[in-house]
């Protein structure tokens, strides 16, 4: 179950693009990228998840980690999550602190 993770900067936004499956075995790759992204100091961290076909609670932990790593004024966005992935994020109540958009 591979996960591909890419990191780029677009203006004042750090973009993490994920594709594949996000579970307990692949989440560590995402974690490492979050560490790098948090160091960029942009106003927004945008996590593009349209290519993620599956996400377990390990992915939720990564999103919480992202929220914790960035400074208080930084917005963390999750863009394009498919419905079951978005539902998992909402089940955990993370949509209160992370902006979920269709992209």
């Amino acid at each position: 179950m591979p996960l591909s993770v890419s990191l780029s900067i677009e203006g004042d936004t750090t973009v993490i693009e994920l594709a594949g499956e996000l579970d307990a075995s692949t989440a560590p790759d995402f974690h490492q990228t979050i560490e790098k992204a948090a160091g960029h100091g942009t106003a927004t961290v945008e996590i593009r998840m349209a290519g993620v076909g599956y996400m377990a609670s390990a992915g939720l932990r990564s999103l919480v980690f992202a929220q914790q790593k960035v400074a208080g004024h930084v917005t963390v966005k999750v863009v394009g999550a498919i419905e079951p992935v978005a539902r998992t994020i909402r089940t955990a109540g993370l949509d209160r602190s992370i902006v979920l958009t269709d992209g």
Partner: protein, 159 residues
């Protein structure tokens, strides 16, 4: 293989199958593929198949990380596919753990940085399936998870 013989001998029965894997995170992919095959045989829709996979994945992850605590162990997964339903039985010989008793609903009132995220996987597992049961028998944890195809549950979860 025993499973093939079993299928050959009882063609009228719903297909049954079994997978045994070492209890490590590297086994999650094989477990997922197994569950998806059972869901496929049951003719589950995409959403129901996703729910079953999520539940079994969370349970297996919990067995690896908390049950065996990263030590050696095995996980046995059995599947049974009926018309519009799929059932997965997950067994391990880690110390007793009843997922229902260990369930921890998300503390959505807490900000995420203060929230305990542990236990959320089990909560997701239990809320993803239509039926769940657990027994401890002969030194083994045995969890049974059943998902029905959308539209066949007389009491579907509220959206």
């Amino acid at each position: 293989m025993a499973d093939n013989r079993r299928r050959g001998a009882f063609l009228a029965e719903p297909a049954a199958d079994e997978l045994q894997v070492p209890a490590c995170l590297g086994s999650l992919a094989a477990i997922a593929a197994f569950v998806q095959a059972v869901a496929g045989r049951a003719g589950l829709d995409q959403g129901s198949a996703y729910r079953l996979r999520l539940a079994v994945d969370e349970l297996a992850t919990n067995i690896v990380t908390h049950g065996y605590r990263g030590g050696d162990g095995r996980i046995t997964v059995r599947g049974r596919a009926g018309a519009g339903w799929a059932r997965i039985v997950v067994e391990d010989s880690a110390p007793p753990f009843d997922p229902v008793a260990g369930r921890l609903p998300p503390a959505t009132d807490e900000p995420p940085e203060r929230r305990r995220i542990g236990g959320l996987g089990i909560h997701l597992a239990l809320t993803s399936v239509d039926e769940f049961s657990y027994v401890r028998r002969d030194g083994r944890n045995i969890s049974t998870l059943t998902v029905k195809a959308e539209g066949t549950d007389p009491c579907p979860p509220r959206p």
